[in-house]
Symmetry: C2
């Protein structure tokens, strides 16, 4: 490809764009007059210069003296390849922002674009406002350069430290999802989203193009994807750069976009084509929005997107040591090694590369960008680095909350009523939606489980947002709605993150086993929050709330693959300043917990609770008290009131609580002299020492609940060793945890606990085993229960449901 060109797709059909670019010929005419062209090219050179400077220099930032080895960092780290393309895009977006007074933010999808984004945010003045130490002069430039990929400085990928960013350039694949999350309910916002062709190979990015079926042109803003095909990853070519132009065009038409192609090498021609394309694209966007908002056109629009095919490491060294570099994979990281052990001409080559941008024509004597160039950037909050949407806490409005107590289940006595815990939550969430509709400030995301998880009450007041076709018999679909569902946990997580990072609130509701699909996305978000807390200028955002149902203990037709409670383990490996795990034992506790989570800021809250009908334990007052403490003795179930217990029966999770209480009732019937204390845990982080995390308990508190030496029989929702990991520093080592041990297949609810030795009978047997004082009575009880287990196995194999005495057990029956 040697000539620049700009083409669009086939014309004059419903599927294809209705207009084409004026400048399709490979000449240099276009919308920019010579002066504009000169200036935008100079701005790009300035950004490129800053990018190279960041990668290489620690001294002599303006090359005011001949470059010497001691001006070059000892360890050269960073990524040049993606940089010039992003600098090119940023300069041109600045132009259209000014031209059309756009409210735009910038998402940098390619992996390591920090030299570009940081450089541009510096050029527009935002960087020095946020970090006054990095001033707009030679001294500031020197610090800007040195801090890059340097201990105590900044990474080669965009991070929370970068003003204007809501997207960590760490793990690849989520730029488009984040962009759409930002665009939802921000009708004036344009989210420019640069996608790398490496990133485009990831699964999450490949499905994220379909986000356009979930965007409402009336109430939402717009995402402008710019796919930068520079052709290479680390050392491989990229797939999308190596299919035919026709295939690429088909692909994006198939995804429902109108692709505009900007392709070439010659900078002047490319400036003209890019400017013309952006003008066209902005016009298209405004036309679509006008048609939908003013004309009421309700058909799903084909939004425009740009494919920018440019050279990897564009304007960088063409050949190094005899090997081609510009436009090849060799431009990916630091293309030119410069140190005392490299050939001396490398230093010269670096100098002439940097001087090719003519810094003396770009920066004034103090080292500040020339005013005529600085004038090219937008001003104030219109600067992409300063746009408040990219520091969402600035725009955060707290939720209007209904009183969760109004949704309580009436619990006259423990187990007197049954309810589906999550089912009870439905009306509460419905009213959260209703109270935060105008303007919308809260959304629920999930793969397709709002109804399956029994939250159908929300559809009394809202719909699923869906902009693709509908047919008779569809339910709860509308172009605008507060629930968004697509069968991609990646998309749901990415959309929600983008929504939160731009200052709104939300909830991810899903299955426990499959939330692990987003393990690594969770990690990236947790790290984002942790770093943001260290940056005073980043305002707090709403918490990321997970509601996981269809959990490990109740699988019905699902088998072994649907069982994995390990997301809890994953979550608590992150900084305890920002993660919380809640295991409400019943519906009233769930209401209290969810109210707390939705009000909180800067946490990641994980709530695990079942949806099936199950016994209810606590009145709302008791639930509020219990959840406020996060852990507590259930006095009504205990009989150790006059002293230390003989045994502590602890539980965390709805099914473990049921089995524990049933075990306690068996023990109290058959061994009434045994003093039993029941401890229930809602807030898992309470178990860790207060020296380890803010919710942790002191040893005194812990011992007052669990005793210093009595046996603790602990039934736990997750993997049993997690409780050991949280409590390994405690004095009481007589801790016996039952939990999920990777045993299960198709089972009944109770049978699932049997397979993992966490059922009531095993818990009783465990207790008796630990307490020699139960003597022959204990031994007899064990034998009875062993027989029960045989009977149980025979019964479920015959009937496929739990034995009646299990299904119908009530607290107090046998005590």
């Amino acid at each position: 490809m040697s000539t620049a060109k700009a083409t669009t797709s086939l014309n004059d059909s419903g599927l294809k764009p209705s207009t084409i670019l004026a400048s399709q010929s490979p000449d240099k005419t276009g919308p920019l007059d010579p002066e504009q062209l000169r200036k935008i090219h100079a701005y790009w050179r300035a950004a490129n210069y800053l990018s190279v400077g960041q990668i290489y220099l620690c001294e002599n930032p303006l090359l005011r003296e001949p470059l010497k080895l001691e001006h070059v960092k000892q360890l050269l780290l960073g990524h040049w390849g993606t940089t010039p393309g992003q600098n090119f895009i940023y300069a041109h977006l600045n132009r259209v922002i000014k031209e059309h007074d756009l409210n735009m933010i910038y998402i940098s999808g390619p992996g390591h674009g920090a030299p570009a984004v940081v450089g541009n945010v510096y050029l527009e003045g935002t960087y020095s406002e946020v970090y006054p130490n990095i001033s707009e002069d030679e001294a500031g430039l020197k610090k800007l350069f040195k801090q890059f990929s340097f201990p105590g400085g900044i990474s080669s990928h965009v991070s929370p430290q970068t003003p204007g960013s809501i997207h960590e350039g760490g793990e690849l694949g989520y730029s488009i999802s984040h962009a759409f999350g930002a665009a939802f309910d921000n009708p004036d916002l344009v989210v420019a989203c640069v996608v790398g062709d490496g990133e485009a190979e990831t699964g999450p990015l490949a499905t994220a193009w379909h986000s356009n079926k979930f965007l409402d042109p009336i109430t939402d803003g717009v995402v402008l994807p710019i796919l930068n095909l520079n052709g290479f990853k680390i050392s491989n070519p990229t797939v999308l750069a190596r299919i035919t132009h026709e295939e690429l065009e088909h692909l994006f038409l198939g995804y429902g976009w109108t692709p505009y192609f900007v392709e070439g090498e010659d900078p002047e021609t490319m400036h003209q084509i890019m400017a013309a394309t952006l003008d066209k694209v902005v016009e298209q966007i405004q036309k679509i929005q006008h048609d939908a908002r003013i004309q009421g056109n309700a058909t799903r629009p084909r939004w425009p997107m740009i494919v920018l095919r440019s050279l990897k490491g564009w304007t960088g060294p063409k050949v190094i040591d005899g090997l081609p570099v510009e436009g090849t994979f060799r431009a990916h990281q630091v293309p030119l090694s410069v140190s005392s052990s490299t050939p001396p001409d490398h230093l010269e080559q670096l100098e002439s590369w940097m001087r090719s941008y003519k810094p003396e024509e770009l920066f004034d004597e103090r080292g500040r960008l020339l005013p005529e160039l600085a004038a090219l950037a937008p001003e104030g909050d219109r600067r992409m680095g300063a746009n408040p949407h990219a520091n969402g806490g600035k725009l955060l409005r707290r939720l209007h909350m209904p009183d969760f107590r109004d949704y309580a289940v009436n619990v006259p006595a423990p187990t007197a009523v049954e309810a589906g815990n999550v089912h009870v939550l439905g009306p509460f969430l419905r009213d959260v939606i209703k109270l935060n509709e105008n303007p919308r400030n809260f959304r629920i995301f999930g793969p397709d489980e709002t109804i399956s998880n029994r939250l159908e009450a929300v559809f009394e007041v809202t719909n699923r947002q869906w902009d693709a076709a509908t047919v008779a018999n569809d339910e709860f679909l509308a172009p605008c709605g507060d629930v968004i569902e697509m069968l991609s946990e990646h998309q749901c997580e990415g959309w929600l993150e983008g929504y939160l990072l731009t200052g709104r609130h939300g909830l991810f509701n899903s299955y426990e086993a499959f939330i692990r699909i987003v393990d690594s996305m969770f990690t990236q978000h947790a790290k984002w929050l942790k770093m943001s807390l260290e940056l005073p200028w980043r305002r707090k955002i709403a918490s990321l709330n997970y509601l996981l149902t269809s959990h490990v203990w109740r699988q019905d037709h699902n088998g072994f693959t649907h069982q994995d409670p390990g997301f809890i383990d994953h979550v608590i490996n992150k900084k305890s300043e920002m993660v919380r795990v809640y295991l409400p034992p019943d519906a009233n506790c769930l209401l209290s917990t969810m109210d707390h989570c939705l009000r909180s800021l800067n946490y990641i809250n994980l709530v695990v609770c079942g949806k099936h009908d199950a016994p209810q334990w606590l009145t709302m007052d008791a639930a509020v008290e219990h959840c406020t403490e996060g852990i507590g003795i259930w006095q009504w179930a205990s009989n150790d009131q006059d002293g230390e217990p003989d045994v502590v029966m602890a539980c965390a999770g709805d099914v473990p609580t049921l089995e524990t209480l049933a075990a306690v009732s068996i023990l109290r019937e058959h061994l009434p002299e045994l003093k039993i204390r029941v401890v229930n845990v809602v807030d898992l982080m309470r178990l860790e020492p207060d020296t380890e995390g803010p919710h942790g308990m002191s040893d005194v508190e812990y011992d007052s609940l669990f005793t210093k030496d009595k046996h603790i029989i602990f039934a736990f929702h997750g993997y049993p060793w997690l409780v050991h990991r949280l409590t390994y520093r405690r004095a009481n080592r007589n801790l016996h945890v039952r939990g999920y041990k990777e045993e299960g297949t198709i089972t009944t609810a109770f049978d699932m606990t049997v397979m993992n030795d966490m059922d009531r009978f095993h818990l009783v047997i465990d207790t008796v085993d630990r307490l020699p004082q139960t003597g022959s009575k204990g031994a007899y009880l064990k034998q009875q229960l062993a027989d029960k287990l045989v009977e149980h196995r025979r019964y479920i194999k015959e009937h496929g449901v739990d034995m009646p005495e299990i299904r119908e057990w009530k607290w107090g029956d046998s005590k």
Copy 2:
């Protein structure tokens, strides 16, 4: 869409198929004569009947008596929606297998297709061969029905229990990746892969369509995707069913396929169109293979695929309780509830639904499929349920292995030489490739990191397999090669799993932080292995081997987001029968470890080791001995030879080993009277009790290494609490673990350990703190080291590299 039709894409262009179907008109003519049509329709009815029977019945399987409530299971669980479509496909695939003598396996991508797959494997006779108890008669049918979605029975999704399956229908999204993994290096194989339109929304599936750029038409087999658009997920429509036909066509042309559309409702018409389409598609495949293999046509082919648009719950109840069901989301699971509490006409409706398939015309008196229908299925290993590729262990050939000792680093003394551990592995892997080339039996998969991870030696003998375009300056790309790289961890994992499950060997090489992208895929594979071990007819397959470099302790230009050692935690939560975690401290240990992993079967081996140049500790002989034990005292570094030590300095991982040894040398210099024992751990599972897993140590062994009560200062590669979790049952509670604590940004290698208190200075300070006997000498040393830490921070902030005394430290220097 009320009339059936079959269309193909636009003709007569490079991008489009070169032929179209004969039968494009919506009539009922086609390749099947009336008798064939009658039979294939009867076969489909039989499969549908078995599917409904599995979901509903526990008695009266052939409806020989009027249906009563007691014939119906008490708890109705299962998924009807996807079933008739898959039954339709399976019957038609059987036809072309017989017609063309195809070697074909079947992958069931939609979530819950077990009623279809199990039913078909039963009809073809395989099921009864594998499970003689489920015989081909009325008694067998009754058991077949009852076991489905029943405790102790089988799940509603396909699982290892299903003969002919290599793909768990648990988590969605990996069918196409698995299919390609199976097709690699199996030139005669056709992998029919049914993709659900729900599954198609997942990220991994959305990028997996690009797998066609990595398939060699000469040396690999072929994947035939059949996208079954039945239009709905649980309660939402699907995206791909609700875009225009034109968009869908564009999408698959863009992905590089030739889509053939089979659309309609009328069974007879659909049979004809499906048969004609499959004939055409098989012809296309054979032509492409002929062109490539015989004619030597090297251009990337456009393989055919099928889009089957059929009704969800096709042939099931049209209306239930006044609501439409067939062709709506309501057909997803159990469409018709039947119990004592449902309207009585539901039982009647179920009976008439089942009788609509006319079982009396399908099964003989004994309850066996009529011979004229049974004859429609292929025979022997050609049956998709019996094809040995789907029980890969049957075809497993052990690897030819070079002697890993030949690749040893010569280590005259500890730290006398430096080497990149993974770099040393390169030549060994190169020769594994060379020895297993013909026929190819080993492959390396990774996102784009073979060179970045310094395994470039493999490219001396092979290439990256790449069938998209190439240009000048590309390196190591060829249509056929042993390395496959795409920037999607999902694809790499899925391809490798498919490759292993069909009886071959392989390695996934990647970055530590981003392997978490496939956390949930790992879980699904681990569960597959665990269940397979319980099925004697499933033969053992080669282990899934992960090599993770670019680990948490050495990040260079990458920042905080690139740091997560938690994959280890994730792995060891699975059954210890099948997971292994290795942390080789140096290159010779890595060689020994990798040799072991590549020879092993049915494990998942996780190997974490750095790529940067680092000190080498052990000779090859010592390394072999050490790795064989998995854990051991490094006598040469210890000075407790004449009794119990004062302190145990333990380490696991290459960087922790370096810091520990450096700390030991400081301690031995400054506090020579201190008796120090150095314990190094290669095989992490050695730490757990022998009662918990096969590699676990007894308490006696453990205490003999770690003592019963001496302080253990343990430097660990991962999160520190993991070591506590593995050792919480041990007597010695004086365990102090240092590891990654979620602290880091851009740092030097040493600085990264400083930030997490795992550097040599902190380890020394820890030790002194625990040992009051070190007295004032210890206190003085602490002060010195605290000063060093200040100096270090100043130095790296200035120079960006570690202090010379850190970089240049050698064992023995200061002792």
